[in-house]
Symmetry: C2
Subunit: 136 residues, 2 copies
């Protein structure tokens, strides 16, 4: 369960507007990008919100063997939030996640981005001498 | 897009073992809990991993009108990670998310939990005088 969670909020996005308003376009971007960087989609769900006359946003999730990618879009705000969480159980996927995250952000072309990296879990396979009960 | 993201890692879980190993049991828990706390599922995807003789884990995602819940389980480690992200676009869902998160954690009965709260996005409807370009 040890892994890296990338979190980003994208503001004033000027990329292809279909990426914010079309579940199909966002699905294609997200699943292709995951595969291109060696991540392994095992399922995906993209939900199109309908706001009537106003273009509704999309919530998309790609379930990965490595954990998940979640994207929420607000076309009316030209805003997007991203989460990309990869576990490092059998190998370190951090570099692949960072590259995929950067390319995903670039696709939306935000004028302003707030990004954070969160280390999750404790390393699962530390040598026993390094494991101190209740240490985090 | 302003909202609250609750992140937790649960260690040494001693709750019902089906919650860690059964996609159906985890789905029922997650969707019922979201509804019980006034959150609105609009889709869900629960993937059962198959590790052969070893009980495989589950990745479950509930897409919410308010954003998403994501759960990953590792039965072999008795470990779980949780993400519950709620946006506060039309109302403040923070209190509901905190209560749902606490009840979800309690269901797994972890001996040790690492929890974080992350505030996401900037408030979308601040009075103009409070909005400073490039301020976060």
């Amino acid at each position: 369960m040890h892994g890296l969670h990338l979190i980003a909020e994208l503001h004033d996005c000027s990329g292809d507007p279909r990426l914010l308003a079309s579940a199909a376009a966002l699905r294609e971007l997200c699943t292709n990008l995951c595969r291109a960087f060696g991540l392994t989609p095992v399922g995906e769900l993209f939900h199109q919100f309908d706001h009537g006359a106003v273009a509704g946003g999309v919530t998309g999730v790609v379930v990965l063997a490595e954990s998940h990618l979640a994207v929420h879009t607000w076309p009316e705000l030209k805003a997007v939030t991203l989460d990309l969480y990869v576990c490092n159980f059998s190998q370190d996927n951090s570099a692949a996640a960072r590259r995929a995250g950067q390319q995903l952000i670039a696709a939306f072309a935000p004028a302003r981005t707030v990004q954070r990296e969160i280390e999750r879990g404790t390393p699962d396979r530390l040598p026993p001498a390094l494991v101190v009960p209740g240490s985090d």
